[in-house]
Each structure stands twice: as C-alpha cells, then as structure tokens.
C-alpha cells in the first residue's frame, strides 16, 4: 500500500435505525498531516470519527493503518493503533489535578519503604506532565491545581497531553474550539500546530471555518453521509468550502451514487 498514508478508510457505511449516517465514505490521513473535517450537523463527521476511535462499529468498510488492514472493535483497539480521541466535553476529572488526569489509567507507581503495594509516584507524574505541557507550549502556574479551575484552553492542553503520553500517531479532535473565546481558541490552534511539529497527524472537526483555514493542510467535506469534496487549504476559499457544505456544489468525482 501507499506509504504516505497513516490511515486509510474505504467505503465506510453506518446506519442508525432508519437513518443512514454514512453511505460509503472514504477518508485518509497522511503522516503529520492536519485534516479538517467539515460538514453540516448530521453530515456524519462525528460518526466517522467514532468509528475510527473504536467507539462505534461500522456496518461495512475497511480501515487500513500504516499499510495494514486494521480491525478496530473497541476504543482499546484504536488506541493500540496509535489513535487517540479528544472529546468535545473533554472527559477530564475536574476534581483532580493535571498530572492525575494525564496519567489516569496509566499511573506511574513506585514501591515506598519496601512496601509490597505500589504507591502513586506523584513527583514523577508531575515532572512528566510539566514536560508534556511544555512541549505543547503551555505552562500551568500550579500543576497541583484541580483541573476544574483551569481555563478552557488549559484543559484542552491537559487532554492533549494525555495523547502525547500515549505516543499517539493520530489525534482526533471533535470541536475543540467550539466552547472557547477568541484568545483561548487561538491557543488550541497553537496546540494543533505543536502536534503537527511533533509529526503527529490530527483530524480536526469544527464548524468554525477560519480555524480550519488557520491550521489544516487539507479539508474534507461531508454532506448527508457522503464525502462531497476535498481541498488543499491553500487552493481554496471559505466561500467554496461553504458551498460544498450546504450543497450548492459537489465535486464531479463524488457525484456517482
């Protein structure tokens, strides 16, 4: 298979009862590429990403990762292939601090005073968390502050630091800037640029086209469960993407049923 692609998805179908959410969608992500995935509500963006993240099983279709046929049937499988999803609602424990959240489920432990039970290695987890956040260009004034006291952008950084710890190769971000103000959103876009610099691929779902244009290499448009267009960011305009989203335009090669 082609070596430039980290992930290839072919002919993905998904139906929820009477609703055909995805009707044979192809999708691909190159190594180190930031792909913007856009489309109106109900176009199938989140469904497609949940399939890649193992949260939903596809009805039909194939997924290839790093040139090999991948069998993703759970989030655990997906993570094993190096895919990490950052959810819109962030899924952090607000009552715990950043290191606890970054390491949740992968805690570092040590044996203290020759006790037989492993004990949380707080200092090590704090150190690593500080380093991960620094790689993302974020410095928290107090690492031990509970996550609920952090700003939206800082929380996003904590969620992304989790993916760095997991050594993700592809990070899927569902509407990471939706609930944020202008400067906080700008910080999140910076986080995405940092991931790209690290050679990590990113799929970025959003309704806010300027954010897509600010960081994405390529834009894929879904409409009513079908892929209706694809553009390299530097060769298109927001008007054109908007036309593709709302249905004023469909690329010829996607027109056949």
């Amino acid at each position: 298979m082609d070596n430039e692609f980290f992930l290839l998805a072919r002919d993905i179908h998904k139906r929820f009862g009477a609703v055909q959410a995805l009707r044979g969608v192809d999708f691909e992500v190159r190594y180190g590429e930031v792909v913007g995935l856009v489309g109106d509500n109900g176009a199938g963006k989140s469904t497609l990403m949940k399939i890649l993240a193992g949260a939903l099983p596809p009805d039909r279709g194939e997924i290839w990762i790093e040139g090999k046929r991948a069998n993703i049937s759970s989030p655990h499988d997906s993570r094993r292939y190096g895919i990490e999803m950052v959810y819109q609602d962030l899924a952090l424990a607000g009552n715990l601090d950043a290191p606890a959240n970054v390491f949740m489920g992968r805690e570092k432990t040590h044996r203290f005073w020759k006790l037989t039970t492993p004990v949380l290695h707080r200092r090590e987890m704090e150190k690593v968390t500080g380093e991960l956040l620094l790689r993302l260009g974020v410095q928290l004034p107090n690492l031990r502050q509970r996550v609920r006291y952090l700003s939206g952008g800082q929380r996003q950084a904590v969620a992304i630091a989790r993916t760095l710890l997991a050594q993700a190769k592809l990070v899927i971000m569902d509407e990471p800037t939706a609930a944020l103000g202008v400067s906080e959103a700008e910080r999140v876009l910076d986080l995405i640029r940092r991931l790209k610099e690290e050679g990590i691929s990113v799929v970025f779902i959003t309704h806010r086209l300027p954010h897509i244009f600010a960081v994405c290499d390529r834009i894929v448009v879904l409409r009513a469960g079908k892929r209706v267009g694809e553009r390299t960011t530097c060769e298109t305009t927001m008007e054109e993407i908007t036309q593709l989203i709302v249905g004023g335009k469909t690329d010829v090669k996607y027109e056949r049923e």
Binding site: Y87, L90, A93, G94, L96, M104, E107, V119, L120
Partner: protein
C-alpha cells in the same frame, strides 16, 4: 531533603487544599471549651471511654468515605450494624464458635455490600434507594431473628475485644481503629485504586473513557462500607456481651455527618480519611461533652442535625462559587 519539603507540603494539603483546617480547629476549640468547663474531660477514664465511642463512628465513617468519594451513599450501615450484631451473637451461641461466628458475620457483610454494589452498577438503581431498602429491611430482620429480645451468653473472653487494654492504657478497639485508619488512608490517598475512586466521583463518564473499571471499583466501595458495619457489629457485641436488635439506630446518619463535616462532597469526588476521622471526632467529642455537662442526649441529635445542614450548605456554596468564577 525530601523529608524537609514533605512537611510544609503536608501542612498545605491539610489546611488549604483539603479545607480540613477549619474543622480541625473547630475540633480543638470544642475539646478546649469542654476541658475548661469540665476538667474531668481529660481524665484517663474519660479519654478511654471517648476513644471507644470514637471507634464506633470512626469505623463507619471510614467505610462511608469510600462510597461517598465515588458519588454514592450508603444509608444501611446503622441497620446492618444491628443485623450483623444479632447474627454474630446467634452464630456464636449456636455452635460456630468465636472465630467461625466472626468470619460468618463478615461474610454476610460482604454479601450485603455486593448486593448494594450490583444494584447500583448493573441495574443502575440509585444508591439512595437500594441502601434505603437495607436500612429498613435489615432492621426488621434483626428484630425478626431475635423476636425483639437480645441474644446473650456470648463466649466469656469475647468482651476483651472491647474492654481489653494494650500496655494498660490503649483500649483494644482504639488500636484496631488506628491500624485500619492508617491502612484506609493509604489505600484512598496513595494507590492507583484510590485515585480511580476519586475519578469516578469526579466525572463517571470521563472515568469510563479513561478505561477505569468503574463497576468493579464502585462495588468494592459498597463492600468496604458494609464491612465497616460488620466490624462495628463485632465491637458492639463485645461491649454489650450480647446481640441486640436495637443497636445502631441513627449510626448511618452519624457516619454520613462525619464524612461530610470532614470535607467530603455528597456529589462525589471529594473527601479524605483524615477529614472523616476528624468529623467523627467532632461528633464523638460533642456527645461526650454533652454527657459530661449533663445535657440531654437528645440535644446531641439536634446538634448533629444542625452540623450536617451547615456542612452540606457550605459544600454547595463552595461549588456554586466554582461554577461562577470571578
């Protein structure tokens, strides 16, 4: 070097982050006032009595802490104490012997915890409801088994569990409590397991996505809580030298009050063993103080009721302040 930085860190954690400072100071104030009004408070005999009383509420508060940290609640521990107390006496007087009786009682406690945990996790019955069922039912079972009368005639020597002294000054139950408390504090505060309980209480959906085995952990929390009732049942049997269906009344409320006074949130995700023990100390010392001052025991219930309302209100106000920054 490590030790030196650890001390201020510990102080900060105790007094600022966990908000235990206020209640710790309140405890000291109550102790001082009581001691000044009635110097007998500090007599060895009174302190030993107080210590044993603290053990009863303390054990239940420790168990309840595990459940409340996960965002649940266990209303059954008082009634379970009565039922397990009666069952223990029954087992011991019907041929199971001391060790057999204790083991059988604790096994039944575990079964009750498992029962609560399975309903809460697998059937998604609110913890409030399923443990309320045991609150009413266990009390009834205890009365049914004994037909309302105490079961006496426990093996001689069993009362040493309550009366016994280590080095002639420390009552056996107090020592047992200190050992369990240290272990529980370690479990909740320093292990991956305890950390995951906090995560469940903080945001159960997030915990699920983190890949934490939330059902197993929550079931464990209810088992620990029920086991604490089993342990208290042992000590009460040793104290009374009988199984009595009327013991344990309102104990679940004292346990929950101790945990909430200790800085836990009934919404889950907050709380600590140290805090809960300080909370249990406040309740026990208040009880002791009122007795020393010859005030009616009913005032104790009134006081504890007022403290619960105050502690929960403070927690809710604190949360509201967090939601509206600035």
């Amino acid at each position: 070097m490590r030790r030196i930085t650890a001390i201020p860190q510990l102080l900060r954690k105790l007094f600022l982050e966990r908000a235990t400072a206020g209640i710790f100071l309140a405890l000291l104030a109550i102790i001082l006032v009581t001691g000044i009004v009635n110097p007998r408070f500090f007599s060895a005999y009174n302190l030993q009595t107080l210590g044993r009383q603290l053990v009863i509420f303390g054990f239940l508060a420790i168990g309840e802490t595990f459940v409340i940290v996960t965002g649940g609640i266990d209303l059954s521990v008082g009634s379970l104490t009565a039922l397990l107390n009666v069952l223990l006496a029954l087992f011991m007087t019907r041929g199971l012997g001391t060790a057999g009786g204790i083991l059988a009682t604790l096994a039944i406690a575990i079964a009750f915890g498992l029962w609560h945990g399975l309903f809460v996790t697998k059937l998604r019955v609110p913890a409030f409801i399923i443990t309320l069922g045991s609150f009413v039912g266990a009390k009834g079972l205890a009365a049914l088994i004994t037909k309302g009368w105490p079961i006496s005639g426990l093996p001689s020597g069993f009362s040493q569990l309550w009366e016994g002294m280590i080095f002639r000054v420390i009552p056996v139950p107090v020592l047992a409590f200190v050992v369990v408390a240290i272990f529980a504090h370690f479990l909740l505060g320093y292990t991956v397991w305890g950390r995951h309980l906090y995560a469940i209480g903080g945001d159960i959906e997030a915990a699920r996505r983190f890949g934490i085995k939330i059902d197993a952990l929550r079931i464990m929390a209810y088992i620990i809580s029920a086991l604490s009732a089993g342990v208290v049942a042992l000590f009460i049997a040793a104290r009374l030298n009988q199984g009595n269906p009327t013991v344990g009344t309102l104990y679940e409320m004292y346990a929950i009050a101790a945990v909430v006074i200790g800085g836990a949130s009934l919404f889950g995700g907050e709380g600590s063993i140290i805090g809960s023990i300080v909370g249990a100390c406040i309740i026990s010392v208040l009880w002791n103080a009122l007795v020393l001052m010859r005030v009616s025991a009913y005032w104790h219930e009134v006081t504890v009721g007022a403290i619960i309302v105050a502690a929960v209100t403070v927690d809710i106000l604190r949360r509201r302040r967090i939601q509206q920054p600035g």
